[in-house]
C-alpha cells in the first residue's frame, strides 16, 4: 500500500509541480490541467501504439502540454479572457482534441479510451525494468524519484534565470513588471506552457503506469494537484530555499496519495472517499492557523505567568 502510494505519488508530484507554476508562480488559477493531463496521456499512449520509444513519447507529450498551455496563455493575454474561463475553454476543447489524438492510434473515429494492456512491455517502466532487472514496482519508484528530482532541478534552475525571475515577478506584481520592461504577456504564456508541459508529462507517465488512457481520466486532477501543493506548503512552511519548497510539493503529493490509499485500505465506505479528501485538504489548509492559535495561547499563558 505504501509502495503503491509512493509510485503514484511521484507521478502526481510532477502534475503538482506543474500546477504550482501556474497557481503559485503566476497566481493564475489554470483549469486547463484537467484537459492537459489527458492530452499527455493520449499523446504518449498513441505514440506507444504507433511503436514510438516510450521516453520519446513522454517528451512529446510534454511538448503537447506546452502547446495546450500556450493556447490558454494566448486566450488570456491576447483575447483578454479571464484566467478561469481561458482555462475552461482549453479544457473543454481538449476533450475533443484528445479523442482525435487517440483516433490516430486506432484509426477509428471516436476513440475515447486507449488501452496499453497489450503494450505493457513497451512502457518506460518496462524499459527501466529490462535495463536494471529490478521489477515493475521498483522501476516505478526509481523512475518516479529520478524524474521528480530532475523536474525539481530543472525548475530550480529555470526560476533562477532572468526569464524565470521575470515569470515569478509577473505572478507577484504585474504592474511593476511592465514598469521594469517585462512583457507580461510573454512571461505568462511561457509560465503556462511550462506548467501544462509538466502536467502532460505526468499524464504520459500515469497512462503507462495504469495501462490505459481514458478521455475522462483528468476529472479531479486539479484537486489532487492543489491538495498536494497545500499539504506540501503546510509541512514545509518554514522552508526558505526554493528547492526545498519544491521538494515539499513532491512530499505533499506522495503523502496525499498515501492518505488516499490508506483510506481505501482501511476499508472505509467508498462513498466517504470524497469527504475524506476534502477533510485532508481542509486540515492541511487550517494547520497554519491552528499552529498560530496554539502559539498565541502559549504566549498568553506565559504572559499570565510573568504577570
Amino acid at each position: 500500500m505504501l509502495l503503491s502510494g509512493l509510485c503514484q505519488g511521484f507521478i502526481w508530484a510532477i502534475l503538482s509541480l506543474g500546477v504550482y507554476i501556474s497557481y503559485r508562480m503566476l497566481d493564475f488559477a489554470d483549469l486547463s490541467c484537467e484537459g492537459t493531463i489527458t492530452t499527455g496521456a493520449s499523446v504518449a499512449a498513441m505514440l506507444i501504439w504507433r511503436g514510438c520509444n516510450p521516453f520519446l513519447a513522454a517528451l512529446l507529450a510534454f511538448i503537447a502540454g506546452c502547446l495546450a498551455g500556450t493556447i490558454t496563455g494566448l486566450l488570456h493575454t491576447k483575447l483578454k479572457i479571464p484566467p478561469i474561463l481561458a482555462g475552461i475553454l482549453t479544457m473543454i476543447s481538449l476533450y475533443s482534441i484528445n479523442i482525435h489524438i487517440m483516433n490516430l492510434a486506432t484509426g477509428k473515429e471516436g476513440t475515447s479510451n486507449l488501452s496499453l494492456l497489450n503494450y505493457k512491455d513497451q512502457t518506460v517502466y518496462a524499459a527501466i525494468d529490462r535495463l536494471l532487472g529490478i521489477g515493475k514496482t521498483n522501476a516505478s519508484l526509481l523512475l518516479g524519484l529520478v524524474i521528480a528530482a530532475a523536474v525539481i532541478a530543472l525548475l530550480y534552475w529555470f526560476f533562477g534565470t532572468e526569464i524565470g525571475c521575470a515569470i515569478r515577478a509577473t505572478g507577484t506584481n504585474e504592474k511593476m513588471c511592465r514598469a521594469q520592461g517585462i512583457n507580461t504577456d510573454v512571461t505568462k504564456i511561457i509560465g503556462l506552457a511550462a506548467s501544462n508541459g509538466f502536467i502532460a508529462l505526468s499524464g504520459a507517465l500515469l497512462s503507462q503506469y495504469q495501462s490505459y488512457t481514458d478521455v475522462g481520466m483528468g476529472v479531479g486532477s486539479i484537486v489532487i494537484g492543489l491538495a498536494s501543493i497545500i499539504i506540501g506548503e503546510t509541512l514545509f512552511a518554514r522552508a526558505k530555499h526554493f528547492a526545498v519548497r519544491l521538494l515539499g510539493i513532491v512530499v505533499g503529493a506522495v503523502l496525499y496519495r498515501i492518505v488516499v490509499a490508506f483510506v481505501i485500505f482501511s476499508g472505509m465506505p467508498s462513498t466517504d472517499l470524497k469527504l475524506m479528501t476534502a477533510v485532508v485538504v481542509a486540515v492541511a489548509l487550517s494547520l497554519p492557523i491552528l499552529k498560530n492559535r496554539l502559539a498565541l495561547n502559549a504566549k498568553k499563558k506565559n504572559a499570565k505567568k510573568a504577570g
Binding site: 534565470t161 532572468e162 526569464i163 507577484t172 506584481n173 513588471c177 514598469a179 521594469q180 520592461g181 517585462i182
Partner: protein, 269 residues
Amino acid sequence: METNIMLSLDRISKTFNPGTINEKVALNGLDLRIEKGDFITVIGGNGAGKSTMMNAVTGVFPVDEGTITLDGEDITGLSEYKRAKYFGRVFQDPMTGTAPNMEIEENLALAYRRTKSHGLRWGISEKERVRYKEALARLDLGLENRMHAKVGLLSGGQRQALTLLMATLERPKMLLLDEHTAALDPKTADKVLRLTHEIVREDSLTTLMVTHNMKNAIEYGNRLIMMHEGQIILDIRGEDKKKLTVEALLAQFSRASGSEFANDRALLS
C-alpha cells in the same frame, strides 16, 4: 534648441469610457515640452489629469490623439513594457513598485535588466550583488545587510526608497514620480523626498514629480506646472518659481481656473 528637448507632448487627448454615462475627458489637447535636466513638479486638483498624463507618457494605455516624443524618438505607439527602458517610475502605492514575494536583491536584479532582454542567464550575478550592496548603502536604511529579505517585509518608506533605487539603478532618460510620498507618514515622506533630490541631482536626471503637497512642489525642482481639467493652466519656472508661496499659488490657481483649488490633502499639508 530642439535637441535640448527630452520629452515633448503634442496635443494629447484621452477620454475614458467614451459614449457612456461615465465618460470622462482626462486629457484635453495637452501640450508640454520638457528640457533635458528639468526637475518639474506637477500639482493640480482631484481629477486634473496628473496621473493620466503620467500613464499616457509611460504607455499604460494608448492615447486617443496626439504624439509623444522622447529624446527625438516618437514613442506614441510603443507598448508599456517597451517604453520601460527609458523611464524610471515610482508609484503612489508602495506596493506597486516592487515584487513583495521576492528578495530585495532579486527586485534590484529585475530593475537592472529593465533595459535588457531576458534570457536563460542566471538571474543575478556576484558582480551585481556587490553593486547592489553599495547602492543600498547609499539609502542609509540598513537594507544592504538584508539583501535576502522579502520586500513584503519592508515598511512603506523602505519600499519607496528601494523603488526609487530600482528606478535609477540603470540611468533612465526620465524619472517619473507619481505622488510617491503620498502614502507615507510626514517624517518618512521627508526622508524619501530628500533622497529623491539627492539622486536626481547626482545623476542629473530629467524628472517629472506629481505631488499633492504645494510646499514640496515649490521647494523642489526648477519648474512647476499646475493642471486643471486635462490641461496645463500654470507653468512657472526659474526665478518666478523661487519666489512662489503657497498663498500666491492658490490665488493664481483661482484666477487661471475660475474655481477654488479642490484637493483637500494639498490644503491640509
